[in-house]
């Protein structure tokens, strides 16, 4: 097990990310509130650089109680990383694709110690 320092907590703004390399490995580290999450920078769809993509809130359909649609809304509580190759979205917290259980990001253990962020490989 290798413990790799990514940076200081204070270097990360809320809802931000940093993509780092460790040898041949590429890892995206994300901050959401006080939580940090890390994922391999490889999209399970076609191997794209998923963590180098843009961040978008999850989109929801705006249905009323009669099941009529009133368009779509952003759910600001759910933030997705979007692979820039083909647009596949993955929840920053869970790594899961919002539309299928078949696709998920490859997790990397992340740890905060004494104000510093580490990933474990």
């Amino acid at each position: 097990m290798q413990m790799i320092r990514v940076g200081a907590v204070e270097e990360f703004e809320d809802r931000s990310k940093r993509v780092v390399t460790v040898g041949n490995a590429e890892i995206g580290v994300f901050r959401l509130g006080d939580d940090f999450h890390a994922w391999r920078n490889v999209c399970p769809h076609q191997g794209g650089p998923v963590c180098q993509g843009r961040l978008y809130p999850l989109v929801r359909e705006n249905l009323d109680d009669q099941m009529k649609s009133h368009g779509r809304l952003y759910d600001e509580d759910k933030l997705n990383i979007v692979c820039p190759w083909h647009g596949l979205e993955f929840d920053i917290r869970t790594g899961k694709h919002p539309g299928t259980s078949e696709l998920a990001l490859d997790p990397v253990t992340v740890q905060v110690e004494a104000g510093d962020i580490y990933v474990l490989l």
Binding site: I4, V22, P49, Q52, R54, G87
Partner: protein, 409 residues
């Protein structure tokens, strides 16, 4: 914790956007080719695109008609708030980038410092490097809608200008860049002239019909054109597209739905007319290539036409075998966007179309549903020879390309 502490390095490309160099964009694809070992294989990308409208002021200089050329020049110089001169299509409804999620679909604003060749040559070279391809067949983008142009003569003017610009300004810049000349198919006599004009150009490896159009492919006025293409020894390709104003597709409220159907529907219609009217029997050496409709539509149409044909053979008397036989033996297909969600269905599709000889790799770069060569390389049910055939050798055979690559003797 018993661990060694080291420091991670920041990745040099933190976020990919419209300014990212294509080589950085496709770095993972290049790395896959090197790690998986197909970087040295012959790979022919039978369908990639450039955005010709970026160079539209240059293209319109090649319009032959002096009055139209002057109109175009003035328009390009002075008109504001309008799409490029003469181009039709739903120019404001191009939602392919999913609201900015897929930046390379929107724009390639990367730095190009080379001045010895056209910018499009540089961008194409970078994509060829990233995808590890030896040949890239270049198609236009907004011009794919020209078959729906209200002025049929404008399709002629613009195809003629684009083909000259492409063959004179772009293709000579890089031996691996080749093309299928885009035909003004709504005017068959002019399409025939264009075939005659370009048939001997080695960088023109075939002829392209943009499939979004309502003119039936079996109309008698096309027979001279098909004869000429057959005699050229080069294939005719039907490149799919969409048409959101089509009455049935206009019921789709999402680009997702419209695009999923539109890119298959046009080729389903053309293939049906092509086969049932016996065009493969009339021109047995004419090779047809069906581009950018994916593959899942093919088994559907094979089964559907076979089923109905047996009951109504008298309506298709030129046929000497089942429709699916023609679709398997006389037609070739590009793979992208290859539907992969059901691997058993995909394997069955490969068997039904005899993919080992009839399937050609295509990326569709830089569009949002592009495929890297790994989509073929990673298939679990193919042996290495089949993968090599699909990724390059089949294309080399039907297009007469050097199987050692453009720069090898």
């Amino acid at each position: 914790m018993d661990a060694d502490i080291t420091k991670a390095e920041d990745h040099p490309v933190q976020s990919i956007d419209t300014h990212t160099d294509t080589r950085d964009y496709l770095a993972h694809s290049r790395r896959d080719a090197e790690r998986k070992g197909y970087v040295d294989w012959l790979i022919v990308d039978v369908d990639a695109h450039h955005v010709e409208s970026v160079s539209w002021a240059e293209v319109t200089e090649y319009i032959e008609d002096p009055v139209v050329r002057h109109q175009a020049t003035m328009y390009q110089k002075e008109r504001v708030g309008a799409p490029p001169y003469g181009l039709n299509g739903d120019l404001g409804l191009r939602y392919q980038d999913v609201g900015g999620r897929i930046p390379h679909q929107s724009s390639q604003r990367e730095k190009v410092e080379e001045t010895d060749v056209h910018r499009d040559v540089v961008l194409t070279r970078r994509a060829m490097h990233g995808l590890a391809v030896n040949y890239m067949v270049l198609f236009p983008t907004p011009m794919l809608f020209l078959g729906m142009h209200p002025q049929t003569e404008m399709e002629v003017f613009l195809c003629q200008a684009y083909n000259r610009w492409l063959t004179e300004r772009i293709l000579p810049g890089e031996p691996g860049i080749v093309t299928l000349v885009v035909l003004p198919f709504n005017t068959p006599d002019e399409a025939l002239k264009m075939v005659e004009q370009h048939a001997d150009n080695p960088n023109v490896i075939g002829f392209c019909v943009t499939s979004t159009r309502y003119k039936p492919v079996h109309a008698n006025e096309y027979m001279k054109l098909y004869r000429a293409i057959e005699e050229s020894g080069k294939p005719i390709a039907f490149h799919a597209g969409y048409h959101w104003q089509d009455p049935s597709l206009a019921t789709c409220n999402t680009f997702l739905g419209m695009h999923s159907l539109g890119f298959t529907w046009c080729n389903i219609v053309h293939m049906t007319n092509w086969i049932l009217n016996g065009i493969p029997e009339r021109f047995p050496k004419l090779k047809t290539l069906w581009v950018e409709s994916g593959l899942a539509w093919v088994p559907f149409l094979m089964q559907r036409l076979d089923d109905q044909y047996l009951m109504r053979q008298s309506e298709a008397p030129l046929l000497k075998k089942m429709p699916s036989d023609y679709m398997r033996e006389n037609c070739w297909y590009t793979c992208q966007p290859m539907e992969k969600s059901n691997m058993r269905a995909l394997e069955c599709t490969f068997e039904m179309i005899n993919a080992e000889s009839q399937l050609l790799y295509s990326s569709d770069w830089p569009h949002f549903d592009f495929d890297t060569p790994s989509v073929i390389h990673d298939l679990p049910f193919l042996n290495e020879q089949s993968k090599r055939n699909i990724l390059g050798l089949n294309a080399a055979k039907i297009f007469g390309l050097n199987p050692k690559g453009p720069k090898a003797g």
